[in-house]
């Protein structure tokens, strides 16, 4: 399944690339694309992870960009 998150106040392109990479390493994430310009993180994930993925993503984002707010779409 596909899940999209808006990363509010994401204003560092380098961090977007890092977030994409790190989220991609999470268990159950098949594909991760973070687009700096649209401030969107689009994930292809395993159905079984649907419940816990938001928490995991927030954790990763907090690590790289503490100012960014993750909004689930």
């Amino acid at each position: 399944m596909v899940k999209t998150f808006i990363l509010e106040d994401l204003d560092c392109a380098h961090c977007a690339a890092k977030i994409e990479e790190e989220v991609g390493k999470l268990e159950g994430v098949l594909k991760s694309t973070c687009t700096f310009l649209t401030q969107k993180l689009t994930l292809e994930i395993d159905e079984s992870k649907a419940g816990s993925i938001t928490k995991d993503v927030k954790k990763v984002v907090k690590k790289f960009e503490p100012d960014v707010t993750v909004v689930e779409q």
């Binding site: 392109a13 380098h14 977007a16 687009t35």
Partner: protein, 628 residues
């Protein structure tokens, strides 16, 4: 400007003024080097301008992810304090913040201009219910509902006009500035703006399936399909930063430990190294360039489904085109009437149009259309009609028999018909009981800008243009001649087209890509097979929007050349940025190692270059405009 950005600007201005005041105070009043007032003064300004950067650097350090620009800036500026260059420490932080501010501002601007492009989402629909008109969300309207669209409102859903005539502004979808007429019975597309009159529309598609939702979805996800260059830069950045950090360490350690260089001098150089190392210029400006190219193309009515396709489009050197609907209008028109007796031309057309008036064959429609510009068709004059399959019709008009059809029909009824040379047009003979009258030439007209498109494609570096068609050899030859295409294949079945494109791709050498252009209705397999599939007239054709990589929203072939031009220019701008950013950085890195570059130059190499690269990227938004 957002509130957040404004706050940051105010803070920067205050700190800048304080910094200048402190510099003046330092030179004129304190004068004494390294005194306590000197440290305190600059330390206060430093914290005022840099507290958020310091905080970020520390949080990341705690999380074990220290390698980013905040961290680099903190190390560099703290290092400058350490070697008693307090004003430089503040300057580094100040200029870093100014640069960051400009970056945020530029990125915000381009985000906004791209959002403007996508300002086609309808906010509401006026649903007609039993209790009168109700304003609802477009997603709540179901199939078959009747909605009311007033002048100035966006068409919220695809449907058919059941009451009223109006004109539509399709600018946002097609880039076309001339309004389009929409009459009762016409299909209209969501995303257009109703200009003149109130119309009632019967909804034919739910919001999720409507044109506007599809286009929005497509554009919003366009940047997810990243171009090769973008992926390259991401990879590059991954190795680049650690490499520079190691280099910075060796700049510090090798001269001091091995050659006994002065520790502070080399520390300063190593710190400059770190400041330069941030790959931000590349990481921001390259996707921004592609994004701008896609956005600018969108404004011109060209949808590109991803930066990877924009990049491929730039490398296209072979274009394969479908004939009907792409180069020609796909609608038949009466070209000329050749009558035995010149004064009978109008009468011939009248008889032919009447005889064919009950048929919906494209040829019949063209006769009717040609006649209707001259007078009203009175179907009461028509008697019995019998159709001779594959030949034509025999109809009674005003009580007398009229024969309209091809040479076979004339032969069948033993008329001596003229046989003009076959130039690829359809020949429709007309005869009455009194004898043969003449023939009418009908053909699918070449679009007015088709020849222009072919010429512009060649100007843009396309060296092979091939036309494919299911039509007859002679019809293909005529269109090829009129447009300037030298290579064509006629009489192809839909399946043959795929084979042809595969042949062309197989026989193709070098890095150039093969594009196929079709109208998308029965070309879906070919569109998918080519390197880049371009669909024409995407407005209203779902199949085209889904199968193609690039969709030309209206049906002007010249837009294909424009799309290619945008792709090429975008690629050039992206390349400029790569060369410029890497070039300046390497240059300043060398200067820094040799001790020629101050911390100021280092800050310029970081944020200044990023800012300039962003400005350059934003030019991509305007390529389409400059073409007009």
């Amino acid at each position: 400007m957002s509130k957040r950005l404004k706050k940051r600007l105010i803070r920067i201005v205050i700190c800048l003024v304080a910094f200048i005041a402190a510099m003046v105070a330092d030179r004129l009043i304190i004068k004494e080097e390294g005194g306590i007032p000197y440290y305190v003064m600059f330390a206060v300004i430093y914290i005022a301008i840099g507290y958020d950067v310091i905080k970020k650097a520390f949080t990341k350090l705690i999380h074990g992810k220290p390698m980013d620009e905040n961290f680099l800036m903190v190390i560099a500026s703290v290092g400058a304090f350490f070697i008693s260059e307090c004003d430089e420490a503040v300057a580094v932080m100040l200029f870093y913040q100014i640069g960051e501010w400009f970056q945020a501002y530029a990125v915000g601007r381009s985000r906004a201009s791209i959002k403007d492009l996508m300002d086609i989402r309808p906010d509401y629909a006026n649903l007609i219910t039993d209790d009168g008109e109700k304003t609802v969300d477009p997603t709540e309207v179901s199939l078959g509902d009747i909605i009311l669209i007033k002048p100035g409102e966006k068409v919220p859903l695809d449907g058919v006009i059941i009451d009223g005539n109006t004109t539509l502004d399709t600018m946002a979808l097609t880039g076309e500035s001339v309004p389009r007429e929409a009459l009762c019975g016409d299909r209209i597309i969501s995303g257009c703006i109703n200009l003149t009159n109130v119309v009632k529309v019967k909804v034919e598609k739910e919001f999720g399936d409507s044109t506007v939702a599809k286009i929005l979805d497509l554009v919003e996800n366009a940047t997810a399909k990243k171009a090769k260059t973008e992926n390259f830069i991401t990879k590059f950045a991954r190795y680049y930063t650690p490499v520079v950090v190691i280099l910075a360490l060796s700049v510090l350690l090798i001269p001091t430990l091995i050659f006994g260089g002065e520790f502070l001098t080399w520390l300063y150089r190593a710190l400059s190294f770190l400041v330069i190392s941030c790959p931000c210029a590349l990481v921001i400006s390259i996707p921004l360039g592609f994004f701008g190219g896609i956005g600018g193309a969108g404004k011109a009515g060209i949808l590109v489904k991803g930066s990877s396709y924009l990049e491929m489009l730039a490398d296209v050197d072979t274009v394969v085109m479908d004939k009907t609907g792409t180069l020609t209008k796909g609608v038949f028109d009466v070209n000329s009437i050749v009558a035995k007796r010149a004064d009978e031309a109008d009468r011939m057309l009248e008889l032919a149009a009447l005889a064919e008036s009950y048929s919906s064959h494209p040829i019949s429609l063209s006769l009717k259309k040609a006649y209707e510009s001259k007078g009203e068709l009175d179907k009461n004059r028509l008697g019995e009609v019998s159709e001779i399959a594959g030949k034509g019709v025999v109809a009674e008009v005003d009580g007398a028999k009229v024969y309209v059809g091809n040479a076979g029909l004339m032969e069948l009824y033993e008329f001596k018909a003229d046989m003009p040379e076959d130039e690829g047009q359809t020949i429709c003979h007309v005869a009455t009981e009194n004898g043969y009258m003449g023939y009418i030439l009908i053909s699918d007209e070449v679009k007015p800008d088709a020849a222009d498109c072919i010429r512009k494609l060649k100007d843009n570096g396309v060296n092979k243009i091939v036309m494919l068609t299911g039509d007859r050899e002679n019809a293909a030859k005529r269109v090829a001649g009129q447009t300037g295409i030298t290579e064509y294949y006629a009489g192809l079945l839909p399946g043959d087209k795929v084979d042809r494109v595969e042949d062309i791709m197989g026989g193709h050498t070098g890095d150039g890509k093969v594009a196929f252009v079709g109208d998308g209705i029965n070309d879906a397999p070919v569109l998918a097979r080519a390197d880049v599939g371009i669909a024409m007239g995407g407005l209203g054709s779902d199949a085209a929007i889904e199968a193609a990589d690039v969709v030309i929203m209206n049906d002007e072939p010249v837009k294909i050349a424009l799309a290619m031009k945008i792709a090429r220019k975008t690629k050039i701008i992206v390349k400029e940025n790569i060369v410029f950013a890497i070039g300046i950085k390497v240059l300043i890195l060398i200067f820094a190692a040799l001790g020629f570059a101050s911390m100021w130059a280092a800050v310029f190499a970081d944020v200044g270059v990023a800012f300039l690269a962003i400005l350059n990227s934003m030019r991509t938004l305007r390529i389409a405009k400059s073409d007009r």
